[in-house]
Amino acid sequence: MIYRQIDTGEPLDQGDILDGCPILWIAGYDKDDLRAVETITTCERVIILTQTCDLANRKATAITVAVVRDAQALVEQHVVKASDIKGPIRAGRVWGWYFLPKSIELGVAEMIVDLRQLHTVRLDLLTALCLRGQRRGRLQPLYREHLAKHFADTYSRIGLPEPYPTD
């Protein structure tokens, strides 16, 4: 079992999946006056990426989350093909996209964690979501470390301007 259901009062941890988290996006701005911007607020399913030790020691008040997208919806929007999901995305071969399988127990369909769009959310806001029963579940150890490794590799990889000669 890759997921586990969590009691409402249990502290937050890396790999927690929460529904309805408010996320702010900058929708528009005046390049001559950046003091005021137009923002969009959406309520998203997110997964916590902040390290377990930072959460456990209360060393973090700003929590890093990634938006979790419904895989089927992305297929229907023609953003990705179903074969892309069944192939390289599910195999973890696309930098920045992490596949999460469906779970009948949690009531979630196949999902893609978008590690290329990160957000910071206040700890107390996420705690409030948990108390409201909006924590869907938790990615179990080993799987969440696998996600964390993919997250780290996405941002630590070194891109070469061109392949070096091998002759």
């Binding site: 996006w25 929708a27 950046l34 003091r35 005021a36 911007v37 137009e38 923002t39 969009i40 607020t41 959406t42 309520c43 998203e44 020691n57 060393k59 973090a60 008040t61 700003a62 938006v67 997208r69 992305l74 929007q77 953003v79 990705v80 390289p88 195999a91 071969r93 696309v94 930098w95 920045g96 996209w97 893609i112 978008d114 290329r116 769009q117």
Partner: protein, 109 residues
């Protein structure tokens, strides 16, 4: 009945170092015999005149069984979700950085 050159020569007693000449169908044929350094190829080479002048065809390297293991960069940016509501915001003061409590023993050398 057609027979390959290899099969035909197998029926002839050949000695290394010797050169044999004969005429076949009005053509002069010379066979020079030497000890093969490598095992003879199983397929006879085409006469040189067939491909004369043409560049040698490069043989495609055999594909690896692990080509599918190469990591890919995303080919599209996932779109932003549909907006729940719009809001115009004003510039404000950022939250102060969080400074964790550092235990006393951390300062002891």
């Amino acid at each position: 009945m057609s027979m390959s050159l290899t099969e035909a020569l197998k029926q002839v007693k050949l000695e290394p170092g010797k050169t044999y000449q004969c005429q076949v169908n009005g053509y002069s044929v010379e066979v020079r015999v030497s000890v093969a350094a490598v095992p003879p190829p199983s397929v006879e080479k085409q006469p040189r005149s067939v491909g004369a002048g043409a560049p040698a065809t490069e043989v495609e390297p055999e594909s690896s069984d692990f080509e599918d293991f190469v990591m890919l960069d995303p080919w599209v940016q996932l779109p932003e979700p549909p907006a729940a509501f719009y809001l115009e915001t004003e510039l404000g003061e950022p939250d102060p950085p969080f400074i964790p409590e550092i235990p006393e023993e951390e300062f002891e050398a």
